[in-house]
């Protein structure tokens, strides 16, 4: 025998074609690796993008304001000397902050370019013969109205007005003066008008004027003649009672009932419409120092008082226990110790700016109690400041020099306290949590407290968990531990299928079927909740009494199937006897009884409805994870326990459940996450009123539902819009944290079982 050494067939693996082929394959492989890596990473980045985008939209809320000299063509503009002659009495700007207006004590009204002070138009007010200007009072900054008082007791109401036109495609703004009460001065009293307080509606004007020695009130009603279009006015005057303080300034509320008279440090509140004529109702020591300025905040409800100790306080009228109106100090804004020289009010928001004698400018928002900016903008003591209507610019006048500041203050109305603390809103008797993001009128104070929404979210989740958790966990325990495998294979996917049920359907059923049903059968629902467990236990006991011969015909682990008819019958029975029970216990109508006897109000779409519907939505989630956790407990643990003589129930509670408890915890967390973020059910099954009340028979508004309702209508980039993004961000973070926690627990559990 010999072994023939045949040489291996000569195959050349390195022909050029093969090499090319191999190169090509290697290239393809590289390309695929690269492509997949890029694709995979980009998907993950896209997911991260959600987080960062939400954050990006939210961040501006918490940025502080910025101030700098006005920039034109990337250059800061210089200050310029005030146009016109005389002392400034009034300083303002038009909408675009392109044209400024200045009124002087010489009766000059100068419209000028805000960038360089060049005069655009100058008018002189007709000063009555033998008199001079003695006072000026701003009626309303947003309406651009002010009044001038003369030494002979006459007053003139003036409005500065602007019209835009577009000749040759360029915007041209034309300023003009309007006299709402006519060009002829109105005679108010015989004293020189050093002080003026004016307020009006469309037809009725109240003008109060005078000096320290006494005041006179003049009421004017303006009527347009329907036929001729002429304006007819009727005037009546009366003298007001004397005050014991040296009046320095007047403020008349827009309701024309309340007059505030400021003295050196005291403040008198006068009720002009008291039963027996005008009467001083309160005299308040408004400041420890001297009052330097006081002004009405936008909306005409609140008053700001500045003093020479550097404090600015906000006041408004609230009713006390005796339903008397009391002028009350609400909050104080402190900034330094230097005397506040001037205040200027924002035209669109509840905000103001103050400047003190050291030249420190402070921007505040009253609702948020926020000091958005503190900056020293000028050396020395400024004479006055004035906001532009859009709050994007401000004039500062000092020693005849005028400078224009550029202000970036997008979201002053948000602060931690405005979002999460009780806030004392205008017109409310005490600080409260309120969500009310928009209203019809312009001078509305937006109420952005997230507390009612967070509370509603947790309330809904709480009731959902209250109803869903016991059912889901008990069901899971039975399915995983007692149920025979054949049945388990049917029941588990069936209940899990419910997880995919669109929540809009659950919401619709809850709102349109369950809510009216519950309204009719309220007692029935409670009887069912009590009676069904009793019936189940009773049936179980009765079953134990059945002779073994019959009992063993049904194998163990089929108890749940046996109970199906029991539960159905017990429910039907409870519903049918509930009318009788309602008659005996609650006089026929449980809802009526509750509202009469217990003073519990009842909404048709309430937390109980949401609890049941959302409980239904979280059951599959909790059930599925709990079931997995219990089923994954190694069998030899329970066998050991059973072998030692423990009953199945003892084994379950002492061995299986403790082992599975982290899994159950993670199931609850995930269920909670789902309940917190659920939108449609809450949207449809509650009245969506943002109230804070734990009452199970009242509704709520949740963060998620609030977003769904309000986002489509909010203006892009507005504070409201960003707060809704903040709400989304809060939801995102909450569920993300809760789910991560649950996931970590679950992974830990898996590792632990691995070792068992």
């Amino acid at each position: 025998m010999s072994i023939e050494n045949t040489s291996a067939p000569q195959i050349d693996f390195n022909t050029p074609a093969q090499l090319r082929m191999r190169k090509f394959r290697a290239l393809k492989d590289k390309l695929a690796s690269g492509g997949i890596a890029v694709g995979g990473i980009s998907v993950i980045v896209a997911i991260l993008l959600i987080f960062f985008y939400l954050l990006y939209e939210v961040m501006p809320l918490f940025q502080s304001a910025k101030v700098q000299p006005w920039q034109q063509n990337e250059q800061a503009i210089e200050s310029y000397s005030v146009p016109g002659s005389g002392k400034t009495l009034y300083l303002s700007m038009e909408e675009q902050a392109e044209i400024g207006v200045r009124v002087t004590d010489q009766g000059e009204v100068v419209f000028f370019n805000t960038l360089n002070g060049s005069v655009i138009k100058s008018e002189t007010i007709d000063i009555p013969a033998n008199s001079s200007i003695t006072g000026l009072s701003t009626i309303s900054d947003p309406l651009r109205q002010f009044a001038i008082g003369f030494s002979n007791g006459d007053a003139l109401v003036i409005q500065h007005n602007y019209t835009s036109s577009y000749p040759d495609g360029e915007r041209v703004i034309t300023p003009a003066l309007i006299y709402p009460l006519g060009k002829a001065p109105i005679h108010i009293g015989n004293r020189p008008l050093k002080l003026l307080g004016i307020s009006h509606t469309e037809e009725n004007w109240n003008l109060i004027g005078g000096d320290e020695t006494g005041l006179t009130q003049t009421k004017i009603s303006v009527e347009e003649n329907m036929m001729t279009g002429e304006i007819e006015t009727t005037t009546e005057s009366e003298a007001l009672p004397q005050f014991n303080l040296k009046a320095q300034k007047l403020l008349l509320f827009p309701d024309r009932r309340w007059l505030l008279v400021a003295g050196k440090s005291t403040l008198a509140v006068v009720d002009l419409k008291a039963e027996d004529g005008p009467r001083t109702t309160q005299v308040i020591e408004a400041s420890k120092g001297n009052i330097t300025n006081f002004q009405m905040l936008l909306g005409g409800n609140a008053v700001l008082i500045a003093d020479d100790l550097g404090k600015v306080s906000q006041w408004f009228l609230i009713r006390d226990e005796d339903t008397d109106w009391k002028f009350t100090k609400i909050r104080e804004f402190s900034g330094g110790n230097a005397a506040v020289v001037d205040l200027t009010i924002e035209h669109r928001r509840k905000g103001f700016a103050s400047i003190d004698e050291l030249g420190t400018l402070r921007l505040f928002n009253t609702t948020a109690e926020r000091n958005a900016l503190t900056a020293t903008v000028i050396k020395g003591t400024a004479d006055s400041i004035s906001y532009a209507p859009r709050s994007n610019a401000m004039f500062i006048e000092k020693d005849g020099q005028l400078s224009l500041l550029e202000i970036h203050n997008e979201h002053p109305d948000v602060s931690w306290s405005a979002l999460w603390d009780k806030v004392w809103y205008e017109g409310y008797e005490e600080p409260e949590y309120i969500w009310q993001s928009s209203a019809a009128n312009n001078d509305f104070e937006p109420k952005y407290s997230l507390m009612p929404l967070a509370f509603g979210t947790l309330k809904a989740a709480f009731y959902a968990m209250l109803l869903g958790t016991p059912l889901a966990i008990c069901g899971a325990i039975y399915t995983a531990y007692f149920m025979i495998p054949a049945m388990r294979r049917k029941v588990k996917p069936f209940i899990e299928l419910m997880e995919a049920l669109p929540t809009v359907i659950l919401g619709f059923l809850a709102g349109l079927w369950l809510a009216p049903f519950m309204e009719n059968q309220l007692a029935g629902i409670f009887v069912t909740l009590l009676f069904v467990p009793i019936a189940i236990v009773a049936f179980g006991f009765a079953w134990a009494q059945v002779p073994n011969k019959y009992r063993f015909m049904i194998p163990e682990g089929w108890d749940a199937a046996l109970l199906l008819p029991v539960v159905i019958l017990a429910t039907l029975f409870s519903l049918s006897v509930s009318d009788g029970i309602e008659g005996i216990l609650f006089g026929g109508d449980m809802r009526l009884w509750m509202s009469n006897e217990l003073d519990i109000s009842y909404d048709q779409r309430n937390a109980l409805v949401v609890g049941i519907a959302m409980g239904f939505a979280v059951i599959p989630t909790i059930f599925s994870i709990t079931e997995d956790a219990i089923f994954a407990v190694p069998k030899h643990l329970s066998y050991g326990s059973l072998a030692l003589g423990a009953t199945p129930w003892q084994t379950l509670t002492r061995v299986v459940l403790p082992t599975a408890s982290p899994g159950i915890f993670s199931a609850l967390m995930i269920g909670m996450g789902r309940a917190v973020g659920e939108t449609m059910i809450v949207l449809m099954a509650t009245g969506n009123t943002p109230i804070m009340d734990m009452n199970i028979f009242e509704g709520m508004r949740t963060l998620a539902a609030n977003i769904a309702v309000e986002v489509p209508e909010s203006e892009v980039g507005s504070t409201h819009y960003r707060i809704l993004f903040l709400a989304a961000f809060v939801l995102f973070m909450f569920t993300f944290v809760v789910n991560t926690l649950a996931e970590l627990v679950r992974q830990h559990l898996r590792k632990k079982y691995g070792s068992l």
């Binding site: 995979g40 809009v504 049936f539 996931e743």
Partner: protein
Amino acid sequence: MKVSFTEWTKSGSPWVWLNAGAVAICVIMVVGLLSLIAVRGLGHFWPADIQQATYSLNGEKSRVIGEIVESEQVPAEQLRDAGVIVPEGTLMMRRDLMKIGNRDVTGTDFTWVLDNNLSERSNPEMLFTAERREWGNFYGYLRALKEGDKLVGQYDGYEKTPEYVALWKGFEASIERALIIRKDIYQIEKHEIGSINYELERLRLKQRALELKEVSDPAPYAEIEARRKELNTSYEGLQQSLIDLYTEINRDTIIAEVSGGQEIDIAVAKIVRAFRPNDMSVGAKLIHYAEKIKEFVSDDPREANTEGGIFPAIFGTVMMVVLMSILVTPFGVIAAVYLREYAKQGFTTRLIRIAVNNLAGVPSIVYGVFGLGFFVYFLGGNIDRLFYPEALPSPTFGTGGLVWASITLALLTVPVVIVATEEGLSRIPRAVREGSLALGATKAETLWKVVLPMASPAMMTGVILAIARAAGEVAPLMLVGVVKLAPSLPLDANYPFLHLDQKFMHLGFHIYDVGFQSPNVEAARPLVYATALLLVAVIALLNISAVQIRNHLREKYKSLEM
């Protein structure tokens, strides 16, 4: 066998029974919910009998005609408080909700009547129901049929006589005729005039674009103008034929008697369908039922979505889901492949896996807000500025639309696909991969030819689950492009055929809108149940198939695991 209660309690049995009860309750709730939707949803299409009865309330008698929709018990006290005379001694009374229709005559569709006070109940054979294009259903007796001003037939009695039936037949023929004309009108209005308007709008935008680009050459302007003239001419032609068709369709009217006894005129053109349910055999009712179901799934909605079909909603949902799947499948699969096959397994991948898992639990409304802010306002706004300046200030992509809805939902469902695909990949035995590599295949070839085909059922499962989730989501869609009534479908015969920027209708939103925002909730409710049933059925089907595929997959790879 006697067992004492204490002993029984001690053994823990009550707790076991309570646990069993929890399962039973869960199952009953699920079954109950599904059957509630099914019964109410399917019952809606069955032609209900019309009852006629004499109703006496506080001594006044009147004739009522309508369908009894539901009944409830009310405390007699409550009725007394409302000023109704109730016999002494009664505690509860039965009250029926009756659909009396004729909203144009009575002002409401529904009324509550006390069951006891109904007398002389009957189901007259000649009572008919007419479904109308406005004012809801009509119930009453046919009195006369007119062609223009000419009286064609007339009948005065209430019994079923040959003359009456002949009159009825004439009425039916007239409806048939009107429906045929209606089809022509629909064709012209919706398709022909619709496409002309669409092209005119495109021309306007084209011209505006030229103006914006400051093109001074008059040729393109003239071209546009010429085409516009052409379109206007054909528009006028169509307008004329429309006018003719309208005169034609408005020829016939009927006179019918309502429950109150007054006779009113109804234009036949306004009637969708008329039938006499009390005189229908079971077979006829079945045919009617089938027709109604067909109408439901294939027609446009009528009367503020409370009547008619939901075809646009079905179509919109399908379109959105298809687009979403096209987006989500490749990205989800690539991300899963990257995580499982290419990325270095370690702390980072574990972190990413947890993050991806958790994103599935982030509330859908958060995705909606993100979609609105990022896709619609940011991306869409920029696209408009760059590519559609001629249409500004009216937004093209800068407002909610099909494409944004699809992308948002793709983002929402991508974790589902990633998780499912990863699971599938992890189930493929190592040996299979190693075998392929040992034979000289590159990693990409192994992936493409061996791993992915084996993982394809898992991907399918993921995609199906994603579709099921997307089809049922409503909250995010409300923010990114769903509307209650879309004027046209997102896919049509006008260039570019698929209108990604268009708003669309969606089944889930339809349920929310009709059930909660509709002015006539009571009348719309049955339709909402039907819509809900359809949605549940589709989603259950998708889920069950996903489960089946998953089980099949597990079986298949069991043999590979040695």
